[in-house]
């Protein structure tokens, strides 16, 4: 007989509480889940290639029909492309939001505004659905769970545009900075550059994901500290395969060697992938939902006293 008490009590037999994990797993597998990732950076930094490499399929906008040497657009556009990926019985609806034209103009003032607007629009959509009287069973989640910001590998420091963007958006979305095209730098240059970027982020008060304030317990903290020490990840993307030592690997072939994408000695792509997909995917979604979305919701409900029109109409309808 199990006793119900406030503190932990020893069980006298096997009940089966732990099967709840299995039940959750089955449900999640059937329902599938959404993941929205946004990539931001100057054109030519390999954003689309990286996303393709991350998800091992042609999911970027490029593959959806746009040519490689398309002209740089005059204003920033937001292009979202969705795919459904399946692995091990788990379905994931992956949406990649691309931002061509970011930082490419001569005058880049306020180029972060269209992006900020898009993010807030997604929050707004979700909020409207939530506030509805008759809610859908599963609200379609188009909120941006993660924004990968691509840093140009100058080898010196962050550019003013980088700092401006990250400052403004780190409070509304999870930002993960990565150093793009890191095969430009030797190992020493890379270490130096990373140190300098970390220092500049600290000086600017920019909190990138994983944020220190949301560490729940010691275990989380130590894990995340390790990751924070290694950020920003220096990555190389590629969707071409080459033969190295009898193995087929993804890489880039230059005249002096082959850069292996998944070799931890060459670049930190594997680390980024593990971090992003294999360990922190759910956490990203949770932080977006519990913190960023809640902040937006609180702000929204505090101004103008909230969203009246929808609730009024529905009440009248239901009364009739």
């Amino acid at each position: 007989l199990a006793k119900m008490s406030g503190g932990g009590s020893t069980l006298l037999g096997y009940i089966g509480i732990d099967t709840i994990i299995e039940q959750m797993r089955k449900k999640t597998m059937k329902a599938g889940f959404d993941f929205n990732i946004m990539v931001v950076g100057n054109s030519g930094l390999g954003k689309s290639t990286l996303v393709n490499t991350l998800f091992k399929s042609q999911v970027s906008r490029r593959s959806a029909g746009w040519a490689r040497d398309e002209k740089i657009p005059k204003t920033i556009e937001i292009k979202a492309v969705s795919h459904v990926l399946e692995e091990g019985g788990v379905k994931m609806k992956l949406t990649v939001v691309d931002t061509p034209g970011f930082g490419d103009q001569i005058n880049n003032d306020n180029c972060w505004e269209p992006i900020s607007k898009y993010i807030n629009e997604q929050y707004e959509k979700f909020l409207k659905e939530e506030v509805n009287i008759t809610r859908k069973k599963r609200i379609p989640d188009t909120r941006v769970h993660c924004c990968i910001y691509f840093i140009t590998p100058t080898g010196h420091s962050l550019r003013s545009l980088d700092i401006e963007f990250m400052k403004r958006l780190s409070h509304s979305v999870n930002i993960i900075p990565v150093i793009a095209k890191s095969d430009t730098m030797t190992i020493e240059e890379r270490l130096e550059f990373k140190q300098r970027v970390r220092k500049e982020l600290e000086m600017g008060g920019i909190e990138v994901y994983p944020q220190k304030e949301f560490d729940e317990d010691m275990e989380d903290k130590s894990d995340n500290d390790k990751i924070r020490e290694a950020m920003p990840f220096a990555v190389v993307g590629s969707d071409k395969e080459y033969q190295v030592n009898g193995k087929r690997v993804l890489g880039r072939k230059t005249a002096w060697g082959i850069v292996e994408v998944e070799n931890p000695n060459h670049c930190e792509f594997a680390q980024l992938r593990d971090f992003l997909i294999r360990s922190h995917l759910q956490d990203l979604k949770e932080v977006t939902h519990n913190i960023h979305y809640e902040t937006y919701r609180a702000k929204r409900l505090n101004e103008n006293g909230g969203l009246h029109p929808i609730t009024c109409n529905d009440t009248q309808e239901s009364n009739l």
Binding site: D69, K71, I72, I106, T152, H156, T186, A255, G257
Partner: protein, 422 residues
């Protein structure tokens, strides 16, 4: 009337074939000047490339390059270095442009650069128009290396704007920076894309001249096919296959700077220093400088009628008259100086004259006083003399009287004696 030049054969050895040697010796003695400008966003490896090209540490630990110093606005900085090789001296000036393209809003970031180039042209124009032209230092920009970021896509709007504005002012040589980012296929595609865009926007980059020499032509054609040159810079020496080469060490290999298969650095170096340096200077002098000059002077003569009173940069006269004016200016300046000096001189003279007059008057006074004294003395003396004379006269008369008396008494005595006789 055109003079007909005939070609004649020489019957013996005259010796003017040694003319090139004389020119060579003179130029070696004089030394050469070359000014190179590097433009590009920060972090594209400009300083490293300059160090690699000239095998000197122009930017080193003690004098860090502009990239290590954060700039808020676009600056134009010059550094000079004197390089000697094989008895030939080269005064190399590197003009760097830190801050270019680094701000969030980069509109008109090319303006300081254009102003700098124009100011160098203007200096040269002024020194050419001077009457005394013995020293004419040539600080005009002979070549501008423009660094394109290796995005792999094409030119950025900033690149296009910049090159459009500068291709008529200076020899623009576009380079693909940090070329070890690109694989050979990506590089080829990128180059083609860039050349396409350059032609589309009608940008006139520096063109290598055709020569009569067949072999040189082949080299030139090879270079033309590889434009824009994709370069990698490095000054660290690494051992590869027991050979010491300059390169960048990666975990997957070493990118050698001087290997023609890895990047186009050797082509750039040869072209810039070994074969086309003089041609760059010539094109700057004959084409860009002449363009600037005719534009400037045409503006002058066009505005001559309207802005008679315009002062400042535009003068209102033709070059000959400008020279005259210069000379007149010079002369008036000299006159003014002369006048000033004369004034000063006069003042001094007046002072002196006054002083002298004063002293003269003083002397005169003293002189008069002395004269008076003298006269007084003189009178005194005269008095004394008169008195003395009077006395003397008295004494003499007395003496005479006495003598008369004595004589009288004597004669009496005589008479007495005589009388006795009687």
């Amino acid at each position: 009337m055109a003079v007909q030049t005939q070609q004649k054969n020489l019957e013996g050895y005259v010796g003017f074939a040694s003319l090139p040697n004389q020119v060579y010796r003179k130029s070696v003695k004089r030394g050469f000047e070359f000014t190179l400008m590097v433009v590009g966003e920060s972090g594209l490896g400009k300083s490293t490339l300059i160090n690699s090209l000239f095998l000197t540490d122009l930017y080193s630990g003690e004098y860090p390059g502009p990239s290590h110093r954060i700039k808020k606005t676009v600056q134009v900085e010059q550094s000079k270095v004197l390089i000697k090789e094989g008895g030939v001296q080269l005064l190399l000036t590197i003009v760097d442009t830190p801050g270019f393209g680094d701000a969030v809003d980069n509109s008109n970031c090319w303006q300081p650069i254009i102003d700098h180039i124009d100011s160098k042209f203007e200096d040269y124009l002024n020194s050419e128009s001077r009457v005394n032209r013995r020293q004419m230092p040539d600080s005009r920009i002979h070549c501008c290396l423009y660094f394109i970021a290796p995005s792999g896509h094409g030119l950025k709007p900033l690149d296009i704007e910049f090159m459009k504005r500068l291709h008529e002012k200076v020899n623009v040589i576009p380079l693909i920076a940090k070329a070890d980012t690109l694989t050979p296929e990506e590089c080829q595609q990128f180059k083609k894309q860039i050349m396409r865009e350059i032609q589309e926007h009608k940008i006139k980059i520096y063109e290598f001249p055709e020569t009569d020499d067949e072999e040189e032509n082949r080299l030139v054609k090879k270079i033309k096919d590889k434009l824009p040159l994709a370069v990698v810079g490095s000054n660290t020496i690494i051992e590869v296959n027991s050979k010491r080469v300059r390169g960048r060490q990666y975990p997957w290999g070493v990118a050698e700077v001087e290997n023609g298969d890895h990047c186009d650095f050797t082509i750039l170096r040869d072209m810039l220093i070994r074969t086309h340096m003089q041609d760059l200077k010539d094109v700057t002098n004959n084409v860009h400088y002449e363009n600037y000059r005719s534009r400037k002077l045409a503006a002058v003569t066009y505005n001559g009628v309207d802005n008679n009173r315009a002062k400042g940069q535009l003068s209102t006269k033709s070059p000959m008259a400008q020279m005259e004016e210069e000379r007149r200016e010079h002369v008036t300046k000299m006159k003014k100086m002369e006048m000033e000096m004369e004034q000063v001189f006069e003042m001094k003279v007046k002072e002196k004259v006054q002083k002298l007059k004063d002293s003269e008057a003083e002397l005169q006074r003293r002189h008069e006083q002395m004269k008076k004294n003298l006269e007084a003395q003189h009178r005194e003396l005269e008095e004394k003399r008169r008195v003395f004379e009077d006395e003397r006269a008295n004494w003499e008369t007395q003496q005479r009287l006495e003598q008369q008396k004595v004589e009288a008494s004597r004669t009496l005595e005589k008479n007495k004696k005589k009388g006795k006789i009687f």
